[in-house]
Symmetry: C2
Subunit: 449 residues, 2 copies
Amino acid sequence: MNASALLTDLYELTMLQAYHDEGLHERAVFELFVRALPPQRRFLMAAGLEQALDYLENLRFTPAELDWLRSTGRFRPAFIDALRDFRFTGDVHAMREGTVFFGDEPVLRIEAPIGEAQFVESRLINLVNFSSMIAAKAARCVLAAPDKLLVDFGLRRAHAGEAGLLAARASYLAGFAGTATVLAGQRYGVPVFGTMAHSYIEAHELETDAFTRFSLSQPANVTLLIDTYDTEAAAARVVALAPALQARGVNLVSVRLDSGDLGDHARKVRAILNGGGLGEVRIFASGNLDEHRIAALLAAGAPIDGFGIGTQLTTSADAPTLDSAYKLQAYAGRARRKRSEGKATWPGAKQVWRCLDAEGRLAHDVVALADEPPPHAGALPLLQPVMRGGKRLAPPEPLADLRAHAAAELARLPDALRTFDPAPPAEPYPVRISVRLRALAHELDAQAH
Amino acid sequence: MNASALLTDLYELTMLQAYHDEGLHERAVFELFVRALPPQRRFLMAAGLEQALDYLENLRFTPAELDWLRSTGRFRPAFIDALRDFRFTGDVHAMREGTVFFGDEPVLRIEAPIGEAQFVESRLINLVNFSSMIAAKAARCVLAAPDKLLVDFGLRRAHAGEAGLLAARASYLAGFAGTATVLAGQRYGVPVFGTMAHSYIEAHELETDAFTRFSLSQPANVTLLIDTYDTEAAAARVVALAPALQARGVNLVSVRLDSGDLGDHARKVRAILNGGGLGEVRIFASGNLDEHRIAALLAAGAPIDGFGIGTQLTTSADAPTLDSAYKLQAYAGRARRKRSEGKATWPGAKQVWRCLDAEGRLAHDVVALADEPPPHAGALPLLQPVMRGGKRLAPPEPLADLRAHAAAELARLPDALRTFDPAPPAEPYPVRISVRLRALAHELDAQAH
């Protein structure tokens, strides 16, 4: 799903032509950040950076794309000719994927000739905005059920295909055990999980036959869906069938509940399975789940061992948008500031410093100019160089390493950030703006245009 | 962005293997429908069917995909060998894209050997769910501003790339004038619109210089962004610059507002432009708009001629999910019914009949078994045959024709469906279930499993 160079907004191309006409090619600094967190979120988690780098490294116009652009009559021939050799040749600093971040903190800083740096805006936001939003949503599910098996079931309700694929990656990064989306297994090595659909049960005259046939078809790891007709009756059927299936080599791992009062069914099914000697068979639940419903089920003691989380995860349904932006912060060595009402930005190339408390938990962050010294000893700079001259500085990090980093990040969250109480926090996480950065902003505001 | 056959849920593959092992290949009927409309919607609009047919017609496993499946060790070699020749060979009935529909109404009916019909579930829902959701959201914007130029600006905040692309198509289908997403122009012929970014203004020392250079670079159709520093001061600059630009062949079409109180700025800017002899220059507004804000601006008499609608459109932010389902309705000639609590479905292959009132407006729909006669003379059957034996019955309809159909559909909406009042309707649109269909459901419920 490597995107076409035409997956961009028209104004990126018209501005590129204008810069080309004017001969404006000085270096620009753009930063990608989220202005303010949605009220439903206390933190975000950086993700999609790998896809962003891949896009930058492989960006080019194909002959067919150039022909089409020519056919529109919007662009001058000399400009289209120049696009043939268009490449991204800039430098990139980025937060490591899995890093927790907050409003006003750049997650990506691009430095390149202005036309290049501008052109990549639409797709960079498109990639980083979505994956970071999903990683944050997934991380909340992980916080709700830290010891449970969590699986992404959301492909069908994701906003088309790429969202389904990238949501599988982002949720695994954030701590999910895996996904149902097969392509995420092939593409990213995400572990793939699956059970059966109600239609499979219905295609057999008897539920018992469906259970038997399915188990024999893939005996190594079997999960049976038991809510098609009567959940408890189906659990009793599983107990009755188990000895014969096990004798034929079937490894019956779990049963799945997908409807009704999941907590109540889980308790009844647990008792039926235990009473039938199937204490080892786990209970997996799905059906319109999110972090709130999972937390409520677990708080009520529901004996559920794993959750399939779909729609609410892959659409981030309670907060399906982020107020993300990609803004010019410096051009030709001079800081710039957008001052539109309600949308002013902090100017200049910046660094984000993370400061931990004595227990190693997040205490506060400082957003400072990139050339400022650390705000104090031990502060961690979150933006690191990842690309120079259009080439990655290192091969992509294994997803397992990024996942371990995300887990460490979640472990460092203070209690105020761990809750998913919908009420706004008494005190938001402190993101401080350095004295020099504030001074620069005031200085730019005093200039005329 | 033709998707891999692996863009599916694992259970589709494990069920396919089970059907293969069992030799179950009788014909199945599956239907894709939305169970109930979100409370924020009074109608939906069918879209994404063209993408669904394209998927069905081109579905196949590549050698690399088969190698990967083999490498997972989950599947038997004989099954993987059989996948080499896997094709969709079934028949499809569908609603025409642009058709208004409601809860419990199939928009797609698939009849094929059960393995094939089942396998395509994940991607079919993934495609039709998203495009139909966006078409409905776009249609609401069209109802809010029927005589204005509406443009999709939402690529960057769409849920990754395919969503951005398909949202451009779906919103154009529903009546938008076009999109900023260039790829939708190349891929679907959707008209493409664009202006400039704040960064372009900021890259120039003086706003005046930026306006001049940009206008000269693409003189045929110029829109200037005027809110970077001071909106009214910029409008005055446009007035001052206009004679010289026009003398150099620049066609100054519009100015864009993107921040602050859009209605207030529009009134002031309109006065400045009119006072400067630029009464023909239009005002285009953007910035976190949706149907509610647009309606409020227009109700207050804001002199705005067009709207760029982004995030709220391409994420359907107020209702970012649909409760869509794809269910087995018949197998081997016998109707089936899922009876899970709260998720029971209407069994059998079905038809949706639309009944209009004397003024040609939607009066009620009837969901009936496919072999029932029309509920009365003049009722329109919404599901039409579009594919037989895995091949389309006709080439794809031109998007312009589908767009005209969508416009006719919106013109037929009764007043109760035209409002976008967030309060639930006093009486929802009547979708009646035929007597025979109800009888069949009761009959199936009485059977044991």
